[in-house]
């Protein structure tokens, strides 16, 4: 995942020259001078207008009764009807519950594990071991969810999958992990850990490299052991990175990962597997309820934005530097 903390002005050296040239001549002179640049800019601008901004306008169908024949503009307004329908739908509490449980499991298990793995890697002084382990644990990040799901299907395959056989013999059961609703969340979190924990350490390892080394020497002289040094120096040293990553993770909380959940969903585990993202797909694409599903998607997006601003405000209140 790319981290969207970007300074768009990075590398600008002389803002004054920009305003100076603006005073010279009218726009036609400016345009004639820069016509090739504007020409180059055109395809990109068209792309953003068509594929990024037109769908944002299309979100208005959440408040309409969209009829493909009438188009977005011609379809009649229905106000908050779709939102009311959604909130009064018995699916709503189930979807909210499923989404939140998965979100908190990922946040409560996968997120701390990333930090723990980064701390353990940071303690390794044998650089060949460190590099090898890093190389191995980064690999799954580049594989598609289709591959991750397929590997899970094989490893947990009924009657012959290695993990199916192993876990069932340890527990003395005969569980089909792939369809048993009780195991769905465990599988999802395990996949997430396998795929992204290693890759997630990169950002923490970079932060760990910036922690002041003199403090460790001082702490050693004061007689602080390994764990106390980690607790009192290392963790405070990367606190701001942890907070930024936590805010980002919370902002992404409701994005349970459409592909992953969709691929692992089957008729037997729908009760725990349905989340907002897949619900939008099933109701919108396969059943054609475009307006209703857009309203569901919009609701999810708004909650996501509230979460990210809320966490950021909270981080600031506790005297930490927030994200923005």
């Amino acid at each position: 995942m790319a981290i969207p903390v970007i300074d768009t002005r990075a590398g600008e050296r002389a803002p004054s020259t920009a305003s100076a040239s603006r005073k010279r001549g009218g726009f036609s002179v400016h345009f004639a001078h820069y016509k090739w640049l504007y020409l180059l800019l055109l395809p990109g601008v068209v792309y953003f207008a068509v594929f990024r901004y037109a769908p944002m306008y299309g979100v208005s169908i959440a408040f309409k009764d969209y009829v493909p024949f009438l188009g977005i503009n011609g379809s009649p307004w229905v106000g908050l009807q779709h939102f009311q329908d959604f909130f009064s739908n018995p699916d709503f509490p189930r979807l909210l519950g499923n989404t939140l449980i998965l979100a908190f499991l990922n946040l409560g298990i996968a997120f701390p594990l990333t930090i723990v793995l980064a701390l353990l890697l940071n303690e390794v002084r044998l650089s060949i071991l460190k590099r090898t382990v890093q190389t191995l644990v980064y690999i799954p990040h580049f594989l598609s969810w289709t591959i991750v799901a397929s590997l899970s299907f094989l490893l947990f395959a009924l009657d012959f999958g290695p993990l199916f056989l192993f876990l069932n013999s340890v527990m003395g059961t005969n569980t089909d992990f792939l369809s048993d609703p009780n195991w769905f969340r465990t599988l999802i979190v395990l996949q997430e850990i396998w795929k992204n924990t290693g890759w997630g350490t990169i950002i923490f390892l970079a932060a760990l490299a910036t922690v002041d080394q003199d403090q460790y020497e001082a702490a050693i002289i004061d007689g602080a052991g390994r764990f106390r040094r980690v607790w009192h120096i290392t963790l405070p040293g990367i606190r701001s990175t942890i907070i930024v990553m936590l805010i980002l993770a919370i902002g992404q909380m409701l994005n349970t990962g459409f592909e992953q959940i969709y691929l692992m969903t089957n008729a037997l585990n729908r009760s725990v597997a349905d989340v907002f993202d897949t619900y939008v797909y099933f109701v919108g694409i396969t059943q054609g309820a475009y307006s209703y599903s857009t309203a569901v998607g919009l609701f999810k997006a708004v909650v996501g934005i509230v979460l990210i601003f809320g966490t950021n405000a909270l981080a600031k209140r506790f005297n930490q530097s927030g994200l923005f």
Partner: protein, 290 residues
């Protein structure tokens, strides 16, 4: 940190090394199993619980899939879409990044703000689907390429890179009568090869791994990409009730699943050394507050 001479410290180090080695091995085990399984015969896969080396080496699974028209079509399609898509996406990103790197260009700040806004807000699945449908791109491979053609994050990084190249290069080219497009093509692009390679990989992996776009936009199963094919082959059966597995389809034998996974993974593993190097850098650009 050179001092760690206590006994406790040494025990911790040893335990840590063993633990991390195990983590590395466990991460890799699923691949090794699938790789071994793809060269094993059917009986061995069902008989042996787990193995990292087949007792009897056979290529029958590969022979089978490479004689299946549906698989070949999916593979060739995916390679072509990935190649064309990467070029189109990279070209669109670079041509947009270059003018935006010119600080004197009017309207630049407005466009940049709109780009950043698009990083945070999007129309979502359904409005994007309806747009693609209205554009007549359903069941067209362009639907896999165009909707995500310019990644705003990549665009801004490439723009910043262009901005940091010495201005003298362009000025001297201009004196020699080069046009803006000539400067971009003959001077900036050759200088930007490593950066462009990074983002080419970024886009290529995105297209190769994409499952959601073909799922949404390609309903005609003769157009399926490798990820869709993989899903069809490995989904145990359509207990799924998701309606996307062809009901007339007869599930293949186990070895074929293994072989298809290997083929779908192989390009990623081949490019992995580059991916690791470039993506790690890309991920850190402008992100650590430290």
């Amino acid at each position: 940190m050179k001092i760690h001479n206590t006994t406790g410290g040494r025990i911790f180090d040893a335990a840590n090394y063993v633990f991390l080695s195990l983590i590395g091995i466990v991460t890799l085990l699923p691949f090794i199993y699938v790789m071994a399984g793809s060269f094993a015969n059917e009986a061995e896969i069902t008989r042996r619980a787990f193995f990292v080396w087949p007792e009897q080496f056979t290529l029958s699974a590969y022979e089978y899939i490479f004689s299946t028209p549906a698989f070949i079509r999916a593979l060739v399609t995916t390679i072509l879409v990935t190649a064309v898509g990467t070029l189109v996406q990279l070209a669109l990103t670079v041509t947009m990044a270059y003018p935006l790197a010119k600080k004197t260009l009017r309207g630049r700040q407005v466009i940049l703000s709109l780009v950043v806004f698009a990083m945070v807000f999007s129309g979502g699945m359904i409005p994007t689907f309806l747009l693609v449908k209205d554009l007549g791109l359903l069941n067209s491979y362009w639907a896999l390429i165009l909707p995500a053609a310019i990644n705003p994050f990549s665009l801004i990084i490439i723009k910043n890179f262009f901005q940091e190249l010495p201005a003298e290069l362009e000025e001297s080219a201009k004196m020699d009568g080069a046009t803006e497009i000539g400067i971009l093509w003959r001077i900036l692009l050759p200088l930007s090869k490593p950066v462009l390679a990074t983002f080419a990989l970024f886009y290529a992996v995105g297209i190769w791994n994409d499952f959601m776009s073909p799922l949404l936009y390609l309903s005609d199963n003769s157009k399926w990409t490798l990820q869709m094919y993989l899903r069809q082959v490995t989904a145990a059966s359509d207990l799924l009730g998701t309606g996307n597995v062809d009901p007339t389809y007869i599930p293949p034998e186990q070895g074929i699943k293994f072989a298809v996974i290997v083929v779908a993974t192989l390009p990623i593993l081949i490019f992995y050394p580059f991916l690791q190097k470039h993506f790690a850098k890309g991920m850190l650009i402008g992100s650590v507050k430290g």
